[in-house]
Symmetry: none
Subunit: 214 residues, 4 copies
DNA sequence: ACATACGGGACAGCCCGTTACT
DNA sequence: AGTAACGGGCTGTCCCGTATGT
């Protein structure tokens, strides 16, 4: 995953100082949280000096927001948005996304949690700027799922509107990730994936059989 | 000669002092997070001195763990475990719990998030002791729901086992709370509540006609 | 070593709380120094509570002075004063004292230093009360040696007066102990002992043939 | 023309700042001891800010070790090593060194003790790093004297080897300084100086008589 | 652009002592 | 006599940000 030939769509100038800082910061923020990460930790992890760090990010908050916008958002895109767009159905897209995440958790051996979640829980209430940045990520996330759901044939009932279902999907995933973090296991993630998939297959939008949830 | 009445009188009240500290800490940890809360904030909020605080909680971590065990666990019990036990069905229990939480959010006007979630996301990965304490809360939570589900007649398929459903419920709630925190609104909570309830009503375990949710 | 039948010569009331505290404090002060020893360390080492400690010694300084008077002075007496008094000559007395101290250092495997020295160096300059207490110990020490020297016949030259020689002996021992502490070895102590002994044997005050050192 | 014009101007002077800190720390450590000196005292005495102090010395221990290496060692050099090297004989070198030290004590009116001694007694046992640093100072000290003794003609017996004599000299001085500190007087120092000098004059290196110590 | 020096403020933990209580 | 609660204050360290220097 490090220096792979295949470039991301957005050119992040991975060789640059800024990129190294963002990588290090994204990693530390996800692992230890924003407040428990000192700028000096970022500095050390990125292998740059305070001056260089200061040059690119005038404050810790600026760095945090940049991480949200330039790293977390991208991570979400590649882990969720793209798989769902390219999948034949929402159910399969979710299955793939969550499956791969769970698999990577298992291979890693530990669960650091979802970066969107982590930062949202830690900062959304206290800081308006972070809230806005994270909220727009959540919105984009739900909208991507809802759009795909809408594209899947049959009209849905009010209670099971695509928007509502999308919210449930994101919520269930987020919460499952929290639980996975608390128990350092992919168990909750796998269970949630299975239930979510079967729920979506038999949701009102599917035609094959009379509606039977799960 | 004047000695100013007996204003000097100090009254020992260990349980009271301890309780005040825990209350203040639980509040601050939920609102601002663990790392962003200074011991001095706790001290001030509780109206105690450093000495008293030190006496009851020798370290910040000890205070944090005590908050988890003596306050967060209790909050979960009264907000989730008891309503579910006393409700005629899981669906109704969940509906009541989440409904009341959403209602209190609306009346408050802001969303501080679920204390279990908040601490789990911030601390579970980095600190083993917090992880264990929070994990046992998650376990208890799921088990309470699963037990109630098991008591609701019809056997379920493997995928829809009471345990799995319970995990989904907790995950969906947790994630919805995260989203609610990110957007400072009870929207995600309400949507998740509605979907969860309808899902549970029509799940294999339900046999008779749906009952009215709160 | 705990509840042994064989009592020390001086009855220190080993069963009493006060004695336990003094023993623990003397030990800690010698090992870690006065300022690096917390009252709580003393409390823990002595196995008593803060209240009990407070009851016997109203302040840390009071405890320190009590240690000087009730423990350090006694230690000096049994390690130096008595051996010298009972020895046939000063040279032999010194040889015995320093030899035994060096031997106990070797068997212990570490050098904690001389308690008189340690406290004098740490406290004599800053605190008048400690200075006085320690100074009187130094005085007693020198006087005991000088008295014995005076009793050893031949008159001495001015430069080699008994008082001066006694000062040199105490100084050489103290400094050797410092060096022993710095290098954690009895080397300096042994060398100093040997030189001191041969010096005293051939000093103007000695008249007869040298006697065998212990 | 006051320096008021460019009040904002801050001038970087790393060596100067570092030196000021070391000077202040060396002084305080000698006067009040290591543990009784707060970093804030150093900060205030040096007239620097916490940030600057932290930048140059990341911890109190680092500062302490730097003081030993950059100040105490130098002080020893100018007070002992150089006088001895330049003196015609060891005896005279010692006489000069100790005499000047005693004289400065008298003119000061108080005795703060020998910095090597003070730190060795306070820290050598508990801290390995300090022990090593101080031990190497003691070694250098003895070696300088021993080397000069070796250069002084006649071969010596084993017991009165130059190394042994050097150890005695250092020990006697150290201990005398301890006593001087305890009684706040140069008395012990002067006595020790006189005895040491006369001892060395008649030491094996003198040819006139068959070896007879003192 | 990057690197070092510095400013000033906070934070968690500790520590000595006093006071209520048994 | 002995225990536990409590009162304040201090200490070493850290941390974020700015200024200087190259």
């Amino acid at each position: 995953m490090a220096r792979q030939a295949k470039a991301k769509k957005r050119t992040n100038n991975p060789e640059g100082t800024r990129g190294k800082i963002l990588d290090a910061a994204a990693d530390l923020f996800q692992m230890r949280g924003y407040h428990d990460t000192a700028m000096q930790d970022v500095r050390d992890a990125a292998g740059v000096t305070s001056g260089a760090l200061q040059h690119h990010f005038p404050s810790k908050k600026a760095l945090g927001l940049a991480v949200v916008k330039d790293r977390v958002a991208d991570a979400l895109r590649s882990a969720w948005l793209e798989p769902i767009e390219q999948a034949p159905s929402v159910a399969e897209g979710i299955s793939v996304s969550m499956g791969e995440i769970a698999a990577s958790l298992d291979s890693q051996g530990f669960v650091r949690g979802c970066p969107v979640n982590n930062l949202a829980v830690e900062l959304a209430f206290a800081d308006l700027d972070f809230r806005r940045a994270l909220q727009s990520i959540f919105d984009e996330w739900q909208e991507a799922i809802a759009a795909k759901l809408r594209a899947e044939a049959a009209p849905s009932s009010i209670e099971c509107s695509p928007d509502a279902l999308a919210t449930l999907v994101v919520a269930a995933y987020s919460g499952a990730m929290n639980m996975a973090k608390a128990e350092q296991s992919s168990r909750a993630l796998e269970i949630t994936r299975a239930l979510l998939v079967s729920l979506l297959r038999f949701s009102p939008t599917a035609r094959s059989r009379p509606r039977r949830a799960v």
